[in-house]
């Protein structure tokens, strides 16, 4: 893989790329100036035309840019749009420039494509929200700003532009989770997401510093991805002495930087132990959960790891860490998802689990598989979230699936598209999730360089079964069986507006067929298609070729096993929640310690609360607030100086102001005499 990068690439300039992020930025700035400076709102139709128009236009520009990219000869597909020198210092310069290569092309199509659909969906979803006059425009302002930041992130030509977008999406995530900020809980969730992400960002920054310091020492002070990749072999062999509390010894520089980068990725992409913010992020409006916390922002970590794949190829230790963290996160989150009863929480844990899959693939070197799953996941998870949003709208903001059931009869269209999403994520062929998940499992199965790769594969397989179980459970509990809410609720259940339904249909279509973009060769052979895995082929320029050393018959056996596991999961859900509803009821009532452990999410929030939050709050309260702020600043400095002046002036000095003009005259004469005397002597 390193060799592939070392080969000199011909860079084609293009001035088209800048418009992809700038269009949403323009809309966001217009909204921001109106709301923040002019204190005026636009009519809703104007907001829709500007915001949705900007993102759709950005999507069209992306498609044109994609067309330009694939018209270039294979292996030379790099478009660069250099705007200006952002930071220049001596031999170092960071350009504000955008890069379109196969990897970022896939990303911008997903971001602007799914983003456009979710913008359209938001028109209908936010229409009945009247909590605040400016809410509608403010929402679209943030959404546009998010789209801009995300596009900066994936189009950035160097680490600094990527980091700019990285921070931007974090900010927008915070703003949108706490969108309904008058509810204190939402504001708390927003802060939690922001603070946890901050920890990850710190790791990311350390990674940039580590890499840059080593490169600069080797005479290549650069942050541009292509230049880093070219210069990287010069520092690949360097080692760094580790401090004693980390076990001492020498680490490869690539491993150290790789671990730092992964800490950043784990924060943004919700991996153990930094995943805790994502379930709480569901406090935001549902389109936000779909766009930011399922389809795009949370995949930024996966994208970044793939972007740095040349680094991880030289750092097997860091790769193993990624693979294992991903696999354990996938299993861990899937077990929690089984017991949750909030429709959005189930999907949130499912997202964490699927992100774990992507990291499992990236750690095993199957970067193409990670991006493939990223794309298909963006479709079906956005579909599931938007479907859940339609259910929540229909149920008048009820999210508890214990109070749903039988909704298929009332909202059949939503039920059908939701079912398509469920089948896609569960990994039933020929829908998209099956192909992408299979590529990941195959990648883990054959990753000889990762310790315990068969174990990773087994975890992935079990997780696939669990995924199928909890997703079908969600579907059956929501749409099948008997309605468990009040008669009044049932009476009001209705299909949502057209602007909500159309994006659902489009996403359902792509969830169903997107898998054929990465059809494994073993199935391609059945239909006589050459190079059927066109996505992997397309990405290979950036991510390298990932050859899978297994025979076709073995590949088919593994796929069959995966289908069997998924089918068992689905069948179990069908039996438990439709045929024998008494059984889960019984388990719940007896609430064994294991069930309680899962339902309470392994008490991780509580443990973090005791270990990190409580001590921090205690220190803030007692040391920083009572000690430093109230005691030192307010007490000693502000009140202290005032009290000191009072003690000197009010008790003593003021008596000099006797009111007798002659005493003042006396001081004047005495003073003059003293000065003259001093001058003369």
């Amino acid at each position: 893989m390193v060799e592939a990068h070392a080969a000199a690439l011909t860079v084609t300039p293009s001035t088209l790329l800048r418009w992809i992020p700038l269009l949403p930025l323009f809309a966001a700035v217009v909204h921001g100036v109106m709301l923040g400076l002019l204190r005026r709102t636009m009519p809703r139709s104007g907001v829709v035309a500007l915001s949705v128009g900007a993102v759709v236009l950005s999507f069209l520009v992306s498609v044109v840019a994609f067309g330009q990219l694939i018209s270039l000869p294979e292996g030379q597909r790099v478009l660069v749009d250099d705007l200006y020198t952002w930071i220049g210092a001596g031999r170092f310069s960071a350009e504000m420039s955008f890069l379109l290569d196969p990897l970022s092309a896939v990303m911008i199509l997903v971001v602007t494509g799914v983003g456009s659909l979710i913008h359209v969906y938001s028109i209908g979803y936010m229409d009945d929200d009247h909590r605040e006059d400016k809410g509608f425009q403010r929402f679209f302002c943030y959404l546009n700003l998010f789209t801009f930041s995300m596009l900066m992130l994936v189009l950035g030509d160097n680490l600094l532009v990527l980091f700019l977008g990285w921070e931007g999406v974090g900010l927008c995530s915070y703003l949108l989770i706490g969108f309904w900020y008058s509810d204190k809980w939402n504001a708390y969730c927003g802060s939690k997401a922001f603070i946890v992400n901050r920890i990850g960002d710190f790791g990311f920054l350390l990674g940039i510093f580590t890499l840059f310091a080593a490169l600069a020492q080797a005479g290549h002070p650069t942050v541009t991805f292509r230049d880093i990749a070219t210069a990287f072999p010069a520092i690949a062999a360097q080692t760094v002495a580790m401090p004693g509390w980390l076990g001492g010894g020498e680490w490869k520089l690539a491993t150290l930087a790789g671990v730092f980068f992964f800490i950043g990725a784990a924060g943004k992409s919700a991996q153990i132990p930094l995943y805790v913010w994502l379930p709480d992020a569901m406090a935001g409006p549902t389109p936000v959960s779909a766009l930011i916390h399922a389809a795009t922002m949370v995949t930024a970590g996966v994208y970044m790891v793939c972007r740095m794949s040349f680094l991880y190829a030289a750092a097997p230790g860091a790769s193993a860490l990624i693979a294992w963290t991903g696999a354990i996160t996938a299993l861990f989150a899937a077990t929690i998802a089984i017991t949750q009863t909030d429709i959005k929480k189930v999907l949130a844990y499912s997202t964490i689990s699927q992100l774990g899959y992507m990291f499992l693939a990236a750690g095993c070197g199957a970067y193409g598989g990670a991006i493939f799953h990223l794309a298909t996941h963006a479709f079906f998870k956005a579909l599931l979230f938007l479907g859940a949003g339609a259910v929540i709208l229909a149920m008048h903001h009820e999210q508890d699936i214990d109070k749903m059931g039988g909704l298929r009869k009332a909202i059949p269209y939503t039920a059908v598209v939701f079912l398509i999403g469920v089948i896609a994520i569960a990994g039933i062929p020929p829908l998209s999730g099956f192909f992408s998940k299979d590529e990941i499992l195959l990648g883990a199965y054959t990753a000889e360089h990762i310790p315990g790769h068969r174990m990773l594969w087994a975890i992935g397989l079990v997780t696939a079964g669990l995924t199928s179980l909890y997703m079908f459970r969600l579907y059956f509990r929501t749409f099948e069986g008997k309605f468990r809410g009040t008669a009044d609720q049932l009476h009001h259940v209705h299909e949502p507006a057209k602007s909500v339904l159309v994006p659902l249909g489009v996403l359902a279509f792509f969830s169903a067929v997107a898998g054929f973009g990465g059809l494994p060769q073993v199935y391609g052979d059945w239909f006589g298609i050459k190079n059927s895995n066109s996505l992997a082929h397309f990405l290979s320029q950036t991510l390298g070729h990932h050859e899978v050393p297994v025979s076709h018959s073995e590949e088919l056996r593994l796929a069959g096993l995966a289908i069997l596991v998924s089918a068992i999961g689905g069948a179990l859900a069908w039996w438990l929640y439709l045929q024998a509803p008494a059984v889960p009821q019984k388990i719940r009532e007896n609430a064994g310690p294991l069930f309680r452990l899962l339902r309470e999410k392994y008490y991780v929030d509580e443990i973090f609360d005791v270990i990190f939050v409580k001590p921090l709050v205690w220190i803030s309260e007692n040391v920083l607030y009572k000690g430093v702020d109230a005691g030192l600043v307010d007490g000693a400095m502000v009140n202290g100086s005032a009290k000191g002046v009072q003690a000197v002036a009010a008790r003593g000095l003021k008596y000099l102001q006797s009111g007798y003009a002659q005493s003042y005259l006396f001081f004047m004469v005495a003073g003059t005499l003293a000065i003259v005397g001093w001058l003369v002597s």
């Binding site: 003021k654 008596y655 102001q657 006797s658 009111g659 007798y660 003009a661 002659q662 005259l665 006396f666 004469v669």
Partner: protein, 100 residues
């Protein structure tokens, strides 16, 4: 020809008498008179120096000081009269309200 030192000594003596008067007397009118005495002490030394060095600048300055002193006395006596109308007193110790 009177030497300059005589003029300076006389001027200094007059000024000191004026200062002591302003510091010790309680009657506002006497205090004003003491201030006039100090001003004229200065005038005297100005004229003395002007004559010693043959510079008319000193004379000009003296005319200036006399004009300002006239205005000052007019305002000062006005204040004393209005004070007397309000307080029935021209004792400076009776006007000590503006204090801590």
């Amino acid at each position: 020809m009177i030497p300059l030192s005589h003029v300076i000594w006389l001027s200094a003596a007059l000024f000191t008498i004026g200062v002591i008067g302003a510091l010790t007397r309680r009657n506002l009118i006497v205090i004003l008179m003491s201030v006039e005495l100090m001003l004229n002490a200065v005038n005297l030394s100005l004229v003395g120096f002007a004559r010693a060095w043959g510079d008319l600048g000193g004379h000009v300055f003296v005319l200036m000081v006399i004009a300002v002193a006239a205005a000052e006395v007019a305002v000062g006596l006005g204040i004393v009269i209005s004070l007397f109308r309000n307080r029935d007193s021209v004792n400076i110790e009776d006007v000590s309200l503006l204090k801590w």
